[in-house]
């Protein structure tokens, strides 16, 4: 048998045990109650699909084709009524505090009915991730409490995150690229705040959101060192919406152009900046920007995988239903071997994709953004304490400068680079896997269904239109492959350089 040092030595070789068998490493640490909670979340999602998403999916898609200016106000109110905009907001900030990985399971369920409707929910959480991972507890509390109040009053308060610019898509996803790119959204410091000028494009749900988490640059020639985040309320002077972008799919979820023209944003709405960062770390601003960006995409890309796998499942289930009820050449398709094998392949794709987002979530749970909330004592403490405890005792503490410093330290100073790489790399692997398999399943479903699959009223052609967007947003799959290489492979090869081709 091997000695413990020999075991450690063998396991540290590529592929490193810790970076590879994530579920095994995390399993003993996972609070058991998360399973019960996740079962509940899936059941709620299925009920929502039966009552809301499935009946509306094709109807809204058609409506949005008839009226290119369609906005999903009614649907948002319904989502708000179901409580989905606060479900994954931590209890510290007034939300329901469901565990974050359960959102991927929820996403798969809703996306199996309509990924556009899931985006109406999910885009909000992309911004929530941007808000929380900034470490700015005061602003996070202020905004998220408004979301909670919106649920109580029946008037949805939702958030969006704005990064993409007309000349910079891939560039703004990677600190290594942004300095070479052409970012133009500039924040100039003035007395009491900043004046922002610039344009953001492809911002899902922009027109209908209440708050925008906006990223700009104090020096557009050195953006990686001068990234600055703001929260901007819709209706702020100098902040307007441009055209409603005309997309191929996900028509229920509008994509907007956001225009900032001499928009004054006061200092107390600065979410993240190099000046704030210096209060709790000596690390270079560039490294902090990368870490912040990694936190957001590490949390959200597994979600995009779940979106993709939801669509993959929707396509599989639609094709299965068709094959079970349609005769070709005098025999039910379901009894023809070629169709059975295609259906088995589609089912396999769903299973593989689900494993991918589960492992990426395990990385975040064990070594990333979710860790703090899922350490057993913290998790059970948050579950057990009554709401008034958070509202009356914890909530005021979130305004303290000290709290922000501690959070900043925990988020940006303490974590190890290898943990960051593991989470970011796995998030990219999951994103590529789920979205590519989703596209594949939609294509296979159309092949099985022939001309029936080409009709909008059969459902699967909409899935193909919808899923294609997932290979593009949250970083194109090409960028995610490079990120997966950078995070999971390049560290083993000293001479490897990424983004220096």
């Amino acid at each position: 048998m091997l000695t413990s040092s020999e075991v450690a030595s063998k396991l540290s070789r590529f592929p490193n045990f810790e970076d590879t068998w994530l579920g095994l490493s995390y399993a003993p640490h996972m609070p058991k109650h998360m399973v019960k909670e996740t079962r509940e979340v899936i059941a709620i999602a299925r009920k929502f699909n039966e009552e809301v998403a499935t009946p509306l999916a094709l109807k809204i898609d058609r409506l949005a084709h008839e009226d290119p200016d369609y906005q999903p106000w009614d649907l948002m109110e319904e989502v708000n009524r179901w409580g989905f905009y606060t479900m994954w907001i931590p209890k510290l900030f007034g939300g329901k505090g469901y565990n974050m990985p359960s959102m991927s399971c929820f996403s798969e369920e809703i996306a199996s009915a309509c990924v556009g409707i899931m985006n109406v929910i999910g885009v909000h959480y992309l911004a929530v991730a941007g808000l929380i991972s900034s470490g700015n507890t005061r602003l996070a509390k202020k905004i998220l409490r408004e979301v909670v109040e919106g649920e109580r009053s029946g008037k949805p308060c939702t958030l969006v995150l704005a990064t993409t610019e007309p000349g910079a898509g891939t560039d703004v996803e990677e600190v290594d690229l942004v300095d070479k790119g052409k970012v133009t959204c500039q924040a100039k410091q003035v007395k009491g705040g900043y004046i922002v000028n610039g344009t953001k494009v492809f911002i899902s749900m922009g027109h209908v959101s209440s708050w925008t988490v906006l990223y700009a640059y104090e020096d557009t020639k050195h953006p990686s060192e001068t990234t600055i985040g703001f929260v901007v309320k819709t209706g702020t002077k100098g902040f307007s919406f441009g055209s409603h972008e005309n997309k191929m799919g996900q028509k229920v979820c509008p994509a907007s152009v956001l225009i900032f023209e001499d928009c004054f944003i006061p200092d107390d709405q600065v979410l993240f900046s190099s000046a704030l960062v210096k209060k709790f770390t000596n690390k270079p601003a560039r490294d902090i920007s990368q870490r912040y960006c990694d936190y957001v995409v590490s949390a959200t890309r597994p979600g995009v995988c779940a979106f993709g796998i939801g669509v993959a499942r929707g396509a599989f289930e639609t094709a299965l239903n068709y094959a079970s009820t349609t005769c070709v050449n005098g025999r039910l398709l379901i009894n023809q071997e070629w169709a059975q094998c295609m259906l088995a392949e589609m089912h396999k794709n769903v299973i593989l994709g689900r494993l991918a987002y589960t492992e990426a979530n395990n990385a975040n749970s064990h070594r990333g953004l979710y860790r703090m909330l899922q350490i057993k004592p913290v998790y059970y403490y948050l579950k057990a304490m009554p709401r008034f405890w958070f509202d009356k005792v914890i909530s005021p503490m979130l305004n303290w400068e000290l709290t922000a410093r501690v959070m900043g330290k925990i988020l940006f100073d303490v974590p190890k680079p290898e943990d960051q790489r593991c989470c970011s790399g796995w998030a990219s692997v999951a994103k590529i896997t789920g979205t590519d398999l989703g596209v594949k399943n939609c294509q296979m479903a159309i092949e099985i269904m022939g001309q029936k699959g080409l009709r909008q009223d059969a459902g699967v052609e909409k899935m193909l239109r919808d899923i294609k967007l997932l290979q593009i947003y949250e970083g194109t799959n090409q960028l995610n492959r490079l990120n997966a290489f950078k995070c999971l492979i390049a560290p083993q090869v000293p001479q490897a350089r990424v983004f220096e081709d």
Binding site: T170, M248, G249, Q443, R455, Q456, K468, L482
Partner: protein, 379 residues
């Protein structure tokens, strides 16, 4: 590619290219809004005027007397810009080919030479299916050449544009079927609204229900399958030409964009990963053009043994196209997903074109079954 072998096709290729540039380029998004926007009747009128709707129809029957090569160069050039008009040209050619193959030149003579408008010149056809594989065809009752049809037929392409349609229907309980010419403006024909489909929006289709509708037999009773098999050999190559054109259009747009779009301080054409994607698209487009050229030459010379190769080429080109148009969007990123560019439409259209003449798996199965049963490569 084909015109480098056949100079005689250059004028028609130039005509199709200039027609696409003049009538279609820059307007595809507007045309694609149908059925939620206006139909482009004026473009169809012009396509009729220049003879695109009768590419393979003999002069004596009101066509321009071209062959499969003529049809393919028209489709390739038109579909580079807009697949929808290609779908109309294809479907009309398919109806004409069915009539000619069935020997129904008398019926063709009643329609095409006398037509004064596209509506009269167009003959609708259920282009997305192989009727033999469809278990639910309308029933035909009658004798001689005169029948009445009753039943439902889905996805009749141009059913709302054309006066006439070729409808497959069964006279008995067996799998055999026959083709019939039906006036779809007659009493007893009920049409749905235009089908909202994945792509080729401006090549519309409807579902129709027939109730004792007068129909004339095209060719022989129960001879539908043999006619379709023979006609589809040629028309599969035409469908592949459509996707070859779509693929070429996608590559051209991706290449142009990648030279102008900078990320990370470089034109994205200079990112080696994207260069690989572009190279893949270019290879697929070139292979498709070569296959189309060879298939057209083989068909024109009626070469023995080419049957399965024509079908194989067609199936392969469709698969290449569906991959290439996906990459075509990817190169443009978010812009590729927007209707302001042509890539998202090509992504949708290519799947529609792949399904012309039946679903891809069924085409593969039918092809290999024939080879297994006959032991011959000449289908």
């Amino acid at each position: 590619m084909l015109i480098s072998y056949r100079n005689d096709l250059k004028p028609i290729a130039d005509l199709a290219q200039s027609f696409a540039a003049r009538e279609l380029a820059g307007k595809t998004e507007e045309h694609d809004r149908y059925p939620f926007g206006e139909f482009y009747d004026h473009v169809l009128d012009k396509a009729h005027e220049v003879g695109f709707l009768g590419a393979i129809l003999p002069d004596s029957l009101g066509g321009i007397g071209g062959d499969i090569g003529t049809l393919c160069v028209i489709l390739q050039n038109i579909c580079q810009v807009d697949g929808s008009l290609g779908g109309i040209i294809f479907t009309n050619a398919l109806s004409q080919e069915i009539m000619l193959t069935a020997g129904a030149t008398d019926l063709a003579g009643e329609i095409f030479p006398k037509a004064t408008s596209p509506k009269e010149f167009l003959v609708a056809f259920p282009s997305y299916t192989d009727p033999a594989q469809t278990d639910t065809l309308p029933k035909a009752v009658g004798s001689g050449r005169n029948f009445t049809l009753t039943g439902r037929l889905e996805f009749l392409v141009m059913g709302n544009l054309a006066r006439q349609a070729i409808i497959p229907a069964r006279t008995g309980n067996g799998p055999s079927y026959s083709f019939f010419l039906v006036d779809v403006s007659a009493n007893g024909v009920e049409k749905s609204d235009p089908i909202f489909s994945l792509g080729l929006h401006a090549c519309p289709a409807v579902d129709i229900t027939l109730q004792n509708v007068r129909a004339r037999l095209v060719g022989n009773e129960n001879g539908g399958h043999a006619v379709f098999e023979k006609a589809s050999l040629k028309m599969n190559v035409a469908a592949a030409a459509m996707n070859a054109g779509i693929m070429k259009g996608s590559f051209n747009e991706a290449l142009a964009y990648s030279r102008e779009r900078f990320q990370g301080g470089r034109a994205i054409a200079n990112w080696s990963e994207l260069s690989m994607v572009l190279a893949g698209m270019s290879i697929k487009a070139d292979v498709a053009e070569m296959c189309i050229a060879q298939a057209c030459l083989g068909l024109a010379k009626s070469l023995d043994g080419g049957g399965s190769q024509y079908i194989s080429s067609s199936i392969h080109i469709h698969e290449l196209a569906c991959e290439a148009v996906n990459d075509g969007i990817q190169i443009l990123g978010g812009y590729g997903y927007m209707k302001d560019y042509g890539q998202e439409k090509r992504f949708r259209d290519s799947r529609m074109v792949q399904t012309l003449l039946g679903p891809a798996p069924m085409k593969k199965l039918a092809m290999i079954r024939r080879i297994v049963e006959t032991g011959a490569k000449n289908i």
